[in-house]
Structure formats: structure tokens, C-alpha cells
Symmetry: C2
Subunit: 208 residues, 2 copies
């Protein structure tokens, strides 16, 4: 008679679906304000079932970060590692690439969440730091030191130079998440990336 059962057992597919729903809800509401009930509803199952796959809300967040962000970080790092050529040109290419990625990934929302909840949930900040910030920062610092050693870049603390290069990207991402929804002007990330990298490199390169 009736064709559709009220529910099905689909152990293998559940985790991915739950994480996908969690990404959406976490980025929309933030960690603390995200309701497990809502994640469950969007994933098409009940709250109780989620606890069969993730022990706690924090465990679920950890899965979100590793699933959604790590692969993309890897991709950028690999591209940089394979580069043959001058450091300035690599940087010139890297920033717009990052800007492009940030446009179509939930990086901004996750970043905002990590920043906002770091006091109450230090674990979240640690995961983000270890998975994303630390690898990216040390790559940049290595590149800058290399560029200085080869005489392509002027001297100066590599960490600070890395900040000089990356900060506007991050600020732009945060801006788009925080102020643009309120009606403040939008930020054209790739355009910022292009102008900024040229400005800073003009001050960093030993010759133009």
C-alpha cells in the first residue's frame, strides 16, 4: 500500500549531510546561537540522530572546519610550493587567488565565528589556527625571507611583512560579513587585492 517509509537507515551518507547543514547554520547564526534542532531539520533527520554521529556541538564544529576549509588551504599551499619564479610575482598571483577563494567559500563566516567565540570556545580558535592560520602564515614568512635572501625584497621583519600583505584581504572578508549586510558599501575583494598587492610590492621590492 504505502510506498515511503517514515525514515531510512543511511549510516554512510549521514555525516556528510549533517556537516553540510551545520556549515549553513553555523555560518548563519554563529556557534553559540546555532540550534542543533535546526541543523537536524536541514539535514533531514532528528536531533537525537545527530548525537549518534557527533558527541557534542564542538565536535560537530571541528568537523565543519576540517571538511570545509582544509582542502582549500591545501590547494593554495600546493600551488605556492610548485611555483617556479620570483617571489614578488608569486605574491602578485597569490593574493587575487585567495581573494577569489574567499568570495565563494564560507571562509568569512567561519572566520567571524572563530573570532567571536574564541573566548568562550578556545578549542574552535585552536582548530582554526592550527589548520589554517599557522600553515598560511609560515608559508608567507618563508617566501618573504627567501625573497629577501635573493635580494628581491627589502629587509624587515617577515612576520610583519606578511601582515602587511594579507591583512587587507582578511579585513575585506570580515567587512563583507559584518557591515555590508547593514547597508555599508560593499568591498570588491579582487579589486582590493590587485591594488593592494601593487602598492605594497612597490614599497617592498628592491627594484621596479
Amino acid at each position: 500500500m504505502n510506498a515511503e517509509p517514515r525514515w531510512r537507515r543511511r549510516k554512510a551518507d549521514r555525516p556528510g549531510e549533517i556537516v553540510a547543514a551545520a556549515i549553513a547554520v553555523f555560518t548563519e547564526r554563529g556557534f553559540a546561537a546555532a540550534r542543533i534542532d535546526e541543523i537536524a531539520a536541514r539535514a533531514g533527520l532528528s536531533k537525537g540522530a545527530i548525537y549518534r554521529y557527533f558527541d557534542t556541538k564542538e565536535a560537530l564544529f571541528r568537523a565543519v572546519v576540517t571538511d570545509a576549509v582544509r582542502p582549500n588551504v591545501r590547494k593554495v599551499l600546493d600551488t605556492a610550493a610548485a611555483w617556479q619564479g620570483g617571489v614578488p610575482d608569486l605574491v602578485r598571483m597569490l593574493l587575487p587567488t585567495v581573494a577569489g577563494l574567499a568570495m565563494k567559500l564560507p571562509v568569512g563566516a567561519v572566520l567571524k565565528m572563530v573570532i567571536g567565540e574564541s573566548r568562550n570556545f578556545p578549542e574552535l580558535a585552536r582548530v582554526w589556527h592550527d589548520e589554517v592560520v599557522q600553515p598560511a602564515l609560515s608559508l608567507l614568512m618563508r617566501l618573504i625571507a627567501e625573497g629577501q635572501a635573493r635580494g628581491e625584497l627589502r629587509p624587515g621583519d617577515p612576520r610583519t611583512h606578511a601582515f602587511s600583505l594579507m591583512a587587507p584581504m582578511l579585513l575585506g572578508v570580515i567587512w563583507r560579513e559584518t557591515f555590508t549586510p547593514l547597508g555599508a558599501g560593499d568591498v570588491d575583494l579582487p579589486a582590493v587585492a590587485r591594488q593592494h598587492v601593487e602598492t605594497v610590492l612597490a614599497g617592498m621590492e628592491t627594484r621596479r
Copy 2:
């Protein structure tokens, strides 16, 4: 017999004490996780009494922003307005000043809070934007445009140039609030300010 009454009426002093306690608790816990009870305890009165002075949690936050931050923003803006001299030199002085202010004010904590809670409490973000971000940004944009008109600075979108200048300051502030407590390296804000402003100005100025 007994000397001390269980409580005193001190209508005039209460608001200031409540706001001071609120600054502490908000910056420690974030807006959503801050408990009115805890603010009351630190201010030395009961929760109910707080509602005689502030109608809601959001109203209390608004008072925090205006009390703690606005005076300092005013000070920086006034300093800049009174400046007689070249735009590059003004910028050269402004960034370390801002860095110094950010070291001893709860700017970072408030900023973090605003970013983290902007989705759930857009009012907070709007207050911050109108009181702090908008005035500071338009000042910088005006300065940059003026420098360009006087031939001191190269062309380029003033808004993006403002981002290039200020972003590392903000990133540094956020870093100190988010990752330093986890054991990640600290950031010497004034040092970053000095090196960054020279790097960027080297790329922005028409002649050195």
C-alpha cells in the same frame, strides 16, 4: 548597633559603575554569553536594579560603546584635523598613535564582539559602524584624496588605500585577542605600525 546598612541609594554613581562592569564582562564573554547577573554582581548591586538604568541588554551595550570608545575616536580625529603639514607625515604619525591607543583600550575586545555577534545583533554592528568605523574611514579617505590632489600620493582608489593602511592594525588587534591567549606568538602592535607604514608609504608616495 549595626553600622553598615545592607545597601545604599546612590543613583548618580550607578550608571558609570554598571557600564564599567559591563565593559569587563562583555569583553570577557562576548555579548550573548555575558550574564546580566554577573554584571550586576561586579557592579555591586542586583540584577533588578540594573533594569532601572538600562531597559535591555542591547541598551547597555550601546552605552558601553559610546562611553568607552567614542571619546578616543574623537581625540584621534581632532588631532588629525588640527594637523598642519604633509599627508604622508600625518599618516606616519597616526598609525603608531592608533596602535598605542589600541594597546590600552578595550578596542580589540569590543571589535571582536561586534564582529562575532553582528548576525544575531545587527544593532551592535550598526552602533560600532556609525560611531567608529565610518568616521575613521572617511577621515582617512579624505586625507588620501587630499594627498593625491597635492601630488604627494600616487593615484588609486582611496578606500582601498585606506584599507591597505589600516588593515594590519586591526588584524593585529584581533590577533592579540584571538590567538595570543592560545599560546600563538604575540604581536608588537607599535612595531608593526612603524614597519608597515613605512612599507606602504614607500609604495604610495610619489617621491622619497
